[in-house]
C-alpha cells in the first residue's frame, strides 16, 4: 500500500477545470518530484491533497484512509503536512511562537531546541517576529514548522523560489539530509534540476493533465520531451 494514493481527481476553481483525472502515488521514504510549468496545476494538486480544495471527483488515500473532502486540520492530524508556496509565516508571531503554534495539535512535537539544532539561524532569531525574517529564514521556518509535527509526508511547494543560490544550496542540503533520514517528501519545483537532484521518481503535469511518470535518469535521457513539457 502506498503512503499516498491520488486516484483520478478532478479539481475545479469555481467552473474552471484545473486538474483532469490526475493520478499519482508516493511510497514511504521516497522523494517524489512534481514538475510542470506554472499554471500546470502543481499547487492545485497539493491544495487538493491537503484539503484546501475538494476534488469534484476521484479519491485520495493517505495510509489507506480516504481523505478527499476532509478539512485541512483533520488531514494534518493524520500526518500529512503542506509547506505552502508563499511560506505563509505568521508575521505577527515570533519564530518560537510560530514553532509552538505548529506543535499545538500534535501529542509529541519537536521542542524548539531540536529545531534550533537543525537550523541554527532560527535559534539566533528565535525572538524575532516572522515578518522581520529574510526570505531564506522564512523558508527555513516554514520547513521547520512542518518538521515540528513529525509528519509522515511533507509536501514542499516551491521551496527554492525567489531565493539566492547560496541559500538554495543550504536548503538542498537540509532536504537531502531529511531524505536520507527517511522522511517522505513530495516536492513541487520549477527549478527542474534542483528537484531532479533530490528525487527518486518524478511526475510531470501539463495543463492539468499528468503526462509523465518516471525516474530522473529516464527524464534526462529525453531532453526534447523535457523541453516540450517544462520549457517552451
Amino acid at each position: 500500500m502506498s503512503l499516498l494514493e491520488v486516484d483520478a481527481i478532478n479539481t475545479y476553481y469555481g467552473e474552471a477545470h484545473a486538474l483532469f483525472d490526475v493520478s499519482m502515488r508516493v511510497e514511504p521514504h521516497e522523494v517524489v518530484a512534481l514538475l510542470g510549468r506554472n499554471g500546470a496545476g502543481k499547487t492545485t494538486t497539493f491544495k487538493t491533497m491537503m484539503g484546501v480544495m475538494a476534488p469534484k471527483s476521484g479519491a485520495i488515500r493517505f495510509a489507506g484512509t480516504p481523505i478527499q473532502g476532509l478539512p485541512p486540520y483533520k488531514i494534518a492530524r493524520l500526518g500529512l503536512q503542506l509547506v505552502p508556496e508563499e511560506r505563509r509565516i505568521i508575521g505577527g508571531l515570533t519564530v518560537e511562537e510560530n514553532l509552538v503554534l505548529a506543535g499545538l495539535s500534535v501529542p509529541k512535537p519537536w521542542p524548539p531546541q531540536r529545531v534550533y539544532e537543525m537550523f541554527p539561524r532560527l535559534g539566533e532569531r528565535s525572538r524575532s517576529r516572522g515578518r522581520d525574517l529574510s526570505g531564506g529564514e522564512q523558508q527555513m521556518l516554514a520547513i521547520a514548522r512542518a518538521l515540528v509535527r513529525e509528519p509522515q509526508l511533507i509536501l514542499l511547494d516551491e521551496p527554492f523560489e525567489g531565493l539566492a543560490p547560496l541559500i538554495v544550496q543550504d536548503l538542498l542540503r537540509i532536504c537531502r539530509k531529511l531524505a536520507q533520514e527517511g522522511q517522505t517528501i513530495v516536492i513541487v519545483e520549477q527549478n527542474v534540476q534542483a528537484a531532479l537532484s533530490l528525487a527518486k521518481r518524478c511526475y510531470i503535469l501539463n495543463n492539468g493533465h499528468m503526462v509523465y511518470e518516471g525516474t530522473p535518469a529516464e527524464l534526462r535521457a529525453d531532453p526534447d520531451f523535457m523541453h516540450r513539457h517544462l520549457g517552451i
Partner: protein, 617 residues
C-alpha cells in the same frame, strides 16, 4: 465572417408598472379601511415608501448599505417645517423643494466623506453621521428645530390655488401625487444608462471601473439622490402630522427603513412601501393580542433575522423571482454540447508546430514601457523592463513562476502604479492614470478569473462597457431608456458577434457554460472598442478542446487589433504570438519571434535550471 451582425432588439418596456401604480394609488385609500387601517396609515405608508424609493436605489440597486438616512429625512423635514412655521413662506411646494435641496446638499457632504471607505466602513460611517445630525438637531440647533420638542404648527398644504387640502383625502392626494412622481422618476432611472451602471457597480464594482466608468462619481450621485428622496419624505411627514418630530433623526428611523426595505424586498422599488405596510400592520395586529403587544418589535426583529438568513430577497423580491422562473427561456441544446466537450481525453502527443508565416510589423509603436520597475519593500518584482508594441502586433509575455509577469501586466493595465519608469500609449505618458482613465483612452483588459456581471444577462453585461465607450466615464442620463439607445445597442451587437454570443444575448450570465463565460469575459473588454487588448491567461481552466476554440477566436479578433497576452500554455502562445517577451526574476531576458525564443539557451536555463549547479551529492 464579414457579414454585418444582426442587431437583436431588446424587448420594449411596457408602461404596466406606472399604470399599476396609478391604479393602486387611486384604490388604496378606499381599500385600506378593509385592511384595518385609516387614511392616515395610508399616508404614512406612502411616506415611508417615498423615503424607501431613494434608499432602494442606494442599497437595493447600487449595493450601498447606509444606516444614516434619517439624517436627510430629518434635515429635509426640519428645513421645510421651519420655513412653514417661522414663517418664511406659506408656499408648501417651495418649502418642500427647499427641504429636498438642503437634504441633497447634506447628502453630498456626508456621501463624499463616507464613500472614502467601502463596504463595512461605509455602513459604520453613515450610522455615525446619522447620529451626528441627531445631536446637532437636539442641542446646538435647538433654537431653530425646537430641540427635543420638535416643530409644531406645520400647516396643511395649500397650493395657492385658493383651496386648502385639509381633508384627509386631500392630504392623501397631495402625498400620492408626489409619491407617484418619485416612483416614476425612480423607474426611469433604473432603466436608464445611469441605472445600468448602478446595477453593474453592485454586481462587480472593480469590473465596472475597469471598463471605463468613474465608479466613485456614480456612487456619490446616487447617494445624493437618495438623500433628496429622504428630504422630501421628511418634509411630507411634517405636513401630514402637522408637527415635525425630532425622532425623524433617530437611529431607529434609519434602522426602520433598512428593516422595512429588506422585509419588503430590496431592489424592487416598491419593497420599502410593502415593508412599511407590513411593519405598520404587524404593529396594529399584534397590539391587540393580549400578552404579545409589547413584544411586537421583538417579533419583527425575529422575522427580520429569519428573512435575512433564509429568504434574503424579501416579499416582493421573492415574487419577482417566481415570476422570472415562470417566464424563463430554457437554455438551448448547445449548452449541453459545450459541457460534453469539457470531458475531452488527456492531451495526446502534440503535433509539431507548423512554422507560421508572419508579415513584418511596420506599424507605429502603440504601447511602450521605459525602465518599468516595481518594488515591494526589499523585493524587486519587475526590474527595469522596457518594451515596445507595434500596431497590429500580438505579443506574448511568458516566464517561469515568480518572473514578474502578473505584476508587469497589472502595471500595463494601470491597476498598480510602478515604482519607477513610465508607460506610454501612442506617445503619451499614461503612468499612474488608473484603470478607468486608461480604458477610456483605449486599453482594455480581460481577467484571468472571470469578472463578469453574474446577476445580469449577456446583453446587460455588454451594455456596461458599451455605455462607457459611447458616453464617457460619467454619464448621469437618468430619463432615457437605455434599451432604446441605438449607439449602445450597435456596440453590444458588435461585441456579441465577435465572441459568438449573439444568440445568447438574453441569457443570464450565471446560466452560461464555462467556455461561454470566458468568451463573455473577453467580450466585455472588446465592447470598450480598445486599441490595445490585454489578455490575462485567457485559456485558464479550459479543456484542450476549449483551448483550441479560444485560439481560433483570438486569431479572429486579433486581426487588426494590438494584443498583449500573458499565458502559460505554450501551444497557445506559439499559435498566436508574433513576438514573445520572456521575463525571469523580474528582468527581460529575451525578446523575439517564437522560433528565436525556442532556440535561445538563456531561456532554456531559465525554465529548466542550469544543469551544472545541481548535480546530486
Amino acid at each position: 465572417m464579414s457579414t454585418a451582425p444582426a442587431i437583436t432588439r431588446p424587448r420594449r418596456r411596457t408602461p404596466w408598472p406606472e399604470l399599476g401604480m396609478v391604479a393602486f394609488l387611486v384604490a388604496f385609500p378606499y381599500a385600506i379601511p378593509y385592511l384595518g387601517g385609516t387614511i392616515d396609515t395610508a399616508n404614512r405608508i406612502l411616506d415611508w415608501g417615498l423615503f424607501g424609493l431613494g434608499f432602494d436605489l442606494l442599497f437595493g440597486f447600487t449595493g450601498l448599505l447606509s444606516f444614516g438616512q434619517a439624517a436627510f429625512f430629518g434635515a429635509g423635514g426640519f428645513v421645510a417645517s421651519y420655513l412653514l412655521t417661522a414663517p418664511v413662506t406659506d408656499n408648501v411646494l417651495l418649502a418642500l423643494l427647499a427641504g429636498t435641496v438642503a437634504a441633497a446638499i447634506f447628502g453630498a457632504i456626508v456621501g463624499y466623506l463616507s464613500l472614502r471607505r467601502a463596504g463595512i466602513y461605509f455602513a459604520m460611517l453613515t450610522l455615525a453621521f446619522g447620529e451626528m445630525f441627531y445631536f446637532l438637531d437636539i442641542s446646538p440647533l435647538a433654537r431653530w428645530t425646537g430641540g427635543e420638542n420638535g416643530l409644531a404648527g406645520v400647516p396643511t398644504p395649500h397650493l395657492g390655488l385658493g383651496f386648502h387640502l385639509n381633508t384627509p383625502l386631500g392630504v392623501y392626494a397631495f402625498i400620492a401625487v408626489l409619491f407617484f412622481f418619485g416612483f416614476w422618476f425612480a423607474l426611469r432611472l433604473i432603466h436608464s444608462p445611469f441605472g445600468a451602471v448602478l446595477r453593474a457597480i453592485r454586481d462587480n464594482g472593480e469590473r465596472t471601473a475597469a471598463v471605463g466608468h468613474a465608479v466613485a462619481k456614480y456612487k456619490l450621485a446616487v447617494f445624493v439622490i437618495a438623500a433628496a428622496y429622504g428630504g422630501l419624505a421628511g418634509g411630507l411627514l411634517g405636513l401630514l402630522q402637522g408637527f415635525m418630530p425630532p425622532d425623524a433623526f433617530y437611529l431607529e428611523t434609519s434602522g426602520q427603513l433598512v428593516v422595512q426595505t429588506v422585509i419588503g424586498g430590496a431592489g424592487t422599488l416598491i419593497g420599502p412601501m410593502v415593508g412599511a405596510a407590513v411593519w405598520l400592520d404587524l404593529y396594529t395586529v399584534l397590539q391587540n393580542i393580549a400578552g404579545v403587544g409589547a413584544l411586537w418589535q421583538m417579533i419583527l426583529g425575529v422575522i427580520f433575522v429569519v428573512l435575512v438568513t433564509v429568504f434574503r430577497r424579501g416579499l416582493c423580491g421573492g415574487a419577482v423571482l417566481l415570476w422570472r422562473r415562470a417566464t424563463a427561456v430554457p437554455p438551448p441544446p448547445e449548452a449541453a454540447a459545450e459541457s460534453a466537450m469539457r470531458s475531452e481525453p488527456a492531451v495526446s502527443a502534440p503535433e509539431p508546430r507548423a512554422p507560421i508565416v508572419r508579415p513584418p510589423l511596420t506599424g507605429p509603436v502603440v504601447l511602450a514601457t521605459r525602465n518599468l520597475t516595481k518594488r515591494y519593500g526589499g523585493l524587486t518584482a519587475v526590474d527595469d523592463v522596457s518594451f515596445e508594441l507595434r500596431e497590429g502586433e500580438v505579443r506574448a509575455v511568458i516566464g517561469p513562476n515568480g518572473a514578474g509577469k502578473s505584476t508587469f501586466f497589472n502595471m500595463l493595465a494601470n491597476v498598480i502604479p510602478p515604482s519607477a519608469g513610465t508607460i506610454e500609449f501612442k506617445g503619451d505618458d499614461i503612468t499612474g492614470l488608473g484603470a478607468t482613465r486608461v480604458c477610456q483612452l483605449g486599453i482594455a483588459k480581460s481577467f484571468q478569473i472571470n469578472q463578469i456581471f453574474v446577476s445580469l444577462t449577456v446583453r446587460e453585461n455588454l451594455r456596461i462597457p458599451a455605455i462607457a465607450r459611447t458616453y464617457g466615464s460619467f454619464h448621469p442620463s437618468m430619463l432615457k431608456t437605455v434599451g432604446d439607445d441605438a449607439a449602445v445597442n450597435a456596440r453590444i451587437a458588435e461585441a456579441a458577434a465577435a465572441v459568438q454570443l449573439t444568440d445568447r444575448l438574453d441569457t443570464p450570465a450565471a446560466a452560461l457554460a464555462y467556455g461561454e463565460k470566458r468568451r463573455l469575459e473577453i467580450g466585455l473588454a472588446l465592447a470598450t472598442q480598445p486599441q490595445v487588448l490585454l489578455l490575462d491567461e485567457p485559456t485558464a481552466g479550459m479543456s484542450p478542446a476549449e483551448r483550441a476554440d479560444t485560439v481560433r477566436l483570438l486569431k479572429r479578433i486579433g486581426a487588426g487589433m494590438t494584443i498583449v497576452i500573458v499565458e502559460h500554455d505554450m501551444d497557445v502562445v506559439f499559435g498566436l504570438a508574433d513576438c514573445i517577451t520572456v521575463l525571469f526574476n523580474g528582468r527581460k531576458i529575451a525578446e523575439g519571434t517564437p522560433e528565436a525564443i525556442q532556440a535561445n539557451p538563456e531561456v532554456r536555463v531559465a525554465y529548466l535550471g542550469s544543469q551544472a549547479a545541481h548535480e546530486p551529492a
